[in-house]
Symmetry: C2
Subunit: 144 residues, 2 copies
């Protein structure tokens, strides 16, 4: 469903959010460890999340990644996925047709649109805040 890049990106963002709620910055190294993702690849993903303004990055000693606390409950899963994978999972025909819409649908159009709308709604309604608190209170986990 999600690309590996997205999986890592989501996990990393949630971890950064938890730390940010404690006013702490985290390094790439720590993130990759805690999230069980390849360091260098994670670096690329964090880079694009930083460019999208979802996370803040800072170089040098005491540097690392952090999320503006005020943003944590504004940021939705949708924003993270969109920053990493673009809109390709939200757009386009289920069977790859160039022209496919309600007036000229492919055989699975309606059913496919239904599922995808569900997904989109879910992503738009899931806040980073709820994901981060779930992790912090030990309800969910990011490894294994």
């Amino acid at each position: 469903m999600f690309s590996k890049a997205c999986e890592y990106g989501i996990k990393a963002t949630i971890y950064i959010a938890v730390k940010s709620m404690r006013q702490e910055r985290v390094s790439l190294k720590e993130i990759a460890e805690e999230v069980d993702s390849p360091v260098a690849f994670t670096a690329k993903i964090l880079q694009s999340l930083a460019k999208s303004g979802i996370i803040d990055s800072h170089k040098g000693p005491t540097g690392g990644f952090q999320i503006d606390e005020s943003k944590i409950d504004t940021i939705k899963l949708h924003d993270i996925v969109h920053a990493i994978d673009g809109d390709k999972i939200f757009v386009g025909c289920g069977l790859g047709l160039e022209q496919c819409d309600a007036s000229q649908p492919c055989p699975v159009h309606d059913k496919f649109v239904g599922i995808r709308d569900n997904l989109k709604i879910m992503l738009e309604n899931t806040s980073l805040y709820e994901l981060a608190t779930g992790l912090e209170i030990g309800l969910t986990h990011l490894k294994r």
Copy 2:
């Protein structure tokens, strides 16, 4: 959502079904043309659909592909997707964790499972028959 292989496989199967309802066999060449898919790649996919028993293949002149008419409304979208992509889209954690279930969930577990169940139900309830008739009566299309 679906792999390219799945997209081509679904389109091809629907096309074969329409022809089969008219007691006609179709060649790989015709299928690839009508479905707008790469011939050789489509051949591979039809091969695996044939091995799974979803379509019937026959070599030689007058050969080609056909679907047992009695099966057309038994075959579900789920069977086609499963024959081509296996169960990878139905199984596994949304964030790639090895151990992730209701008792030890990842942060997106519940939401992800919800969406995936929807998808699974849709695939299990969509028959090849309805997809093929939709195409035959001109309600849907397979190209462009």
